[in-house]
Symmetry: C2
Subunit: 200 residues, 2 copies
């Protein structure tokens, strides 16, 4: 079949490789951008270009940030004795929005998942172990992975590793109350706030 537009085909192909987009939604987005909203397309180009250039992982907590050390790690008014371990920057944002947690974070950028072939070694945890060994100010690691098989496996692995790397550090986990089987970022702020207070 003759292609009517190799440029459009290439764009659809690039879009359909994004997580959560199939060929149909990729086509719909591409046609929308090109037929009705070129200005939005150009804005997306520049936002993506700028983000690829500016966004990096925080040297300390691994979150996505524009600075070498993110504003939370750099904030001396925060409680540096607590480190909350989350799956993603989106989950970190949800916890920040509850305004009930004033400690630091460590962002895994993923969860252990045998199904997806993601092992503990893929989570760049070395940075966290180093921090626990070298910074005696840290007293607590609060694990905020979701109550899913992957979140449980990750929490279990981290709890065991902290016990061996830094046995003086207390390990807690967000209390259940967060509905099981649901990703943290789909949970409302009140539920998360309650689980922070009731953490075990």
């Amino acid at each position: 079949m003759t292609s009517l537009s190799p440029s459009l085909d290439e764009l659809v192909d690039a879009l359909r490789r994004l997580p959560g987009l199939g060929p149909r939604s990729a086509s719909r987005i591409a046609e929308h951008l090109l037929s009705q909203d070129r200005e939005r397309a150009l804005k997306l180009v520049s936002a993506l270009d700028r983000a690829v250039k500016n966004v990096k992982h925080c040297e300390l907590c691994n979150t996505l940030t524009d600075d070498a050390v993110c504003p939370i790690c750099a904030d001396t008014s925060r409680d540096h004795s607590k480190i909350c371990v989350v799956e993603s920057p989106a989950d970190q944002r949800v916890i920040e929005e509850t305004m009930t947690y004033r400690g630091l974070y460590f962002v895994l950028m993923g969860l252990i998942s045998p199904v997806k072939g993601v092992g503990a070694e893929d989570l760049r945890l070395a940075k966290l172990w180093e921090r626990l060994k070298s910074d005696p100010a840290v007293r607590e690691v609060l694990i905020a992975t979701p109550y899913t098989p992957e979140g449980d496996a990750t929490a279990h692995f981290i709890a065991k590793a902290v016990a061996s790397v830094a046995p003086q550090v207390r390990v807690t986990r967000l209390a259940r109350g967060i509905p099981a089987g649901v990703e943290l970022e789909y949970t409302d702020a009140n539920t998360i706030a309650g689980a922070i207070f009731a953490r075990r």
Copy 2:
């Protein structure tokens, strides 16, 4: 709340304005591109940039194409007596894939929708009326809009307009057989092929 990365926020904002993407899927896509797949992000930038520069509407049929006149309109071996009216380039592609239609197309880039505030005047149909008036070779307009309220309203409007602009032209519509209430692009090729042969 302090932003950890204004560049990331800007990207999420640009992504969530795309059709079918909410704030959560936009976050997930942005984090994926920036943490795991910068090469893919750069490919998307260049694909989008190139598409915005190269893709235009065909002067004759309105589809998205890299040329002034698309390869289908320019193909003299096709049957220039038939014009199939479709909602989108994606629908046009589905019909081409059936390999049962060898005529030309007219691509509406939308459907009449009172709910979405889209009227007949938004569909750039003027090009089609001009073609019907000026080209005596055209004998048939085959309307391939879906059997949805919007598709029906659009088909009804076009059929009436053709009857008044070019009464010598036969107006047909894809036979039912295409399941009602379903977008054309979600229909399998066999069903569409059957509906082309049984058109009324």
